[in-house]
């Protein structure tokens, strides 16, 4: 009987020459990806984990049991009820975006498991697909328990099945990243950029915020998921190295494109929780500080290792670190009924902290919060006044990222209109425009929410849009956590009178 060391290399690295079909028929470029190279160019593909299926199953079983133990100990409704209300609403953002987004990763990994160009790559992608099943099932299981406590947690499963504007944006992203992607672009975009580059925001940053917020169930869940990510993220590096060797311009393009697309998504997913939905005394750092330490520095080092350049839009990205998620949060607050979670207004201590962390543009953001607060002060607090402190005109969305046109600064929004083949498109930023124009055939037929309304595909009336198209109800649509009842605002009213 062969020992593990003798058997494993034979099992995970098993390639052969084809005699009845050509190699390019087994691995067509359209689904295996560019550049198409003979297997001789991929045969040295390697990763360091070298796990057997038995070891994989044993490890995953142990990890699942550990998550189950934590759920039994601290994941019950009575534990969740003790968490701060703003944090709970940040949790709802992740509850919705995470599980079925991970499920799309199953599809992408299975494509790699069939159309990856080397057997060791395909073996690893098979484990990657199993990982992503796990990352779908665990949060669905844990958050389903919470529906009895708060019906907004129902969006853990419902989110991607709606035409909510943020779901449209998230689907646009994941459809391209994972569902409809060839194996090479999938593994570079997902393993190298998304998982190596950005998921630290979720799995390190958010895990530490969860710990500070005493949300041990969420902390343990994301930490458990991270151990899988660390393994299957390794697929991307050797794929990128081979593409870099044969078509460095294309490698640079893929990295630049996907770093920007990931930035857009994660600045919202993590930025809002870090700087607004975590209690002030539980914030160990700002979103910008975390981005700089865990994403930017690490990403630049990795680019250097591969001989890649900084993305051409680097200065734009650095400017956005100071302002983009703030503009999104203020905009989303003023259209909160279009979302499935609740918001808070930053009070004086939070605004003082935000000014210290983001001095460059905070004056402009502070003026916005003053104005919103003033509206609450005028109409008075209470759930009955929610819609009196809510936007009425329709916000506009970017034709690439599908997110609100909230880029640039409040003084100078960077949205731009571009005509392409007789139709006008609007983009929130230069990088979104660049991505669109590099492959317009990929994006041009997608309609943003505004154009769906104007064409009659979606209702123009706000209540109908919320209930029929976004699938919200008066119980589940987003509100101010405190319905405008803030001590600091009441104190201001008293002193004003």
């Amino acid at each position: 009987m062969l020992s593990r060391e003798e058997w494993l290399p034979l099992a995970r690295k098993l390639d052969w020459d084809y005699s009845y079909v050509r190699e390019d028929e087994v691995f067509p470029q359209v689904i295996s990806g560019h550049p198409w190279l003979p297997h001789s160019e991929w045969k040295d593909w390697e990763e360091s984990f070298k796990t057997s299926y038995r070891e994989y199953v044993d490890n995953q079983y142990e990890k699942d049991m550990a998550v189950k133990a934590v759920r039994d100990a601290v994941g019950r409704i009575e534990n969740v009820q003790k968490l701060a209300a703003p944090w709970l609403n940040g949790l709802k953002v992740h509850a919705a975006a995470l599980p079925l987004g991970e499920f799309t990763g199953v599809i992408g990994n299975l494509r790699g498991a069939r159309f990856g160009r080397d057997s060791a790559w395909r073996t690893m992608a098979t484990f990657g697909a199993l990982d992503e099943y796990r990352h779908t099932q665990i949060p669905l299981l844990l958050f389903h328990e919470l529906v009895k406590f708060d019906s907004q947690f129902d969006w853990a499963h419902k989110f991607y099945h709606t035409n909510n504007w943020f779901a449209v944006a998230a689907r646009h992203f994941f459809d391209e990243l994972t569902v409809g992607q060839n194996a090479i672009e999938f593994h570079i975009a997902t393993n190298f950029v998304f998982e190596t580059g950005f998921t630290n925001l979720q799995f390190v940053g958010l895990a530490s915020l969860a710990r500070e917020s005493s949300d041990h169930m969420f902390e343990r869940m994301v930490t458990s998921i991270q151990t899988d990510e660390a393994r299957h993220a390794q697929i991307g590096h050797p794929v990128l190295a081979t593409v870099m060797k044969h078509d460095p311009r294309y490698a640079q393009y893929l990295v630049d494109k996907w770093f920007w697309r990931n930035w857009r998504l994660f600045s919202i997913l993590t930025g809002l929780s870090t700087d607004y939905l975590t209690a002030l005394d539980q914030r160990p750092y700002s979103f910008k500080e975390f981005m700089e330490e865990w994403i930017i520095d690490q990403f630049l080092r990795t680019l250097d290792e591969f001989g890649l350049q900084k993305p051409w839009y680097w200065e734009i990205l650095m400017d956005e670190l100071d302002i983009y998620h703030h503009m999104i949060y203020a905009s989303a607050y003023s259209y909160r009924a279009t979302l499935w979670f609740n918001f808070v207004i930053p009070g004086p201590p939070e605004r003082k902290w935000l000014r210290q962390k983001y001095p460059k543009h905070w004056d402009d953001m502070d003026a916005v919060w003053e104005q919103v607060s003033e509206r609450w002060r005028t109409v008075g607090p209470g759930p009955e006044n929610e819609l009196a402190v809510h936007g009425t005109a329709m916000p506009a969305f970017c034709d690439l990222c599908q997110l609100p046109l909230s880029a640039g600064t409040p003084r100078k929004n960077t949205a731009r209109v571009v005509a392409h083949q007789g139709r006008k498109y609007i983009f929130c930023s230069q990088p979104c425009q660049w991505i669109f124009l590099e492959e317009p055939e990929r994006y041009a037929n997608h309609k943003d929410v505004v154009k769906r309304v104007l064409s009659g595909e979606a209702p123009a009336d706000l209540p109908d849009l919320l209930t029929e198209y976004f699938r919200l109800t008066p119980e589940t649509w987003g509100k101010d956590v405190y319905h405008g009842s803030y001590e600091w605002l009441a104190a201001r009213k008293t002193s004003a009178t």
Binding site: Q371, T392, L454
Partner: protein
């Protein structure tokens, strides 16, 4: 038939879809955007509307100013002609 336009008010955090009537004036359109964004940005006097990089005469109608669907316009306060 209303003309859909993308309006950007100085000081605001998001661009808005504004439906303009051909016969309304540039001044009315500017006011319409200010009203739409009033939850986030206080109304200011002496706001000017910019279209294709030029300050527009407030008395012009939307038709005279030749606005086209899905174009961008900006409303900026404190700008002196």
């Amino acid at each position: 038939m209303p003309i859909p336009l993308y309006g950007f008010l100085e000081g605001d955090t998001v661009g808005l879809l504004i439906l303009a009537d051909e016969e309304e004036t540039v001044q009315t359109l500017a006011r319409k955007l200010q009203d739409a964004a009033h939850l986030r940005v206080a109304r200011r006097d002496h706001a000017h509307l910019f279209y294709n990089g030029k300050a527009m005469d407030p008395a012009l109608t939307i038709a005279q100013a030749a606005f086209e669907a899905f174009d961008r316009f900006d409303v900026i306060s404190g700008w002196q002609r």
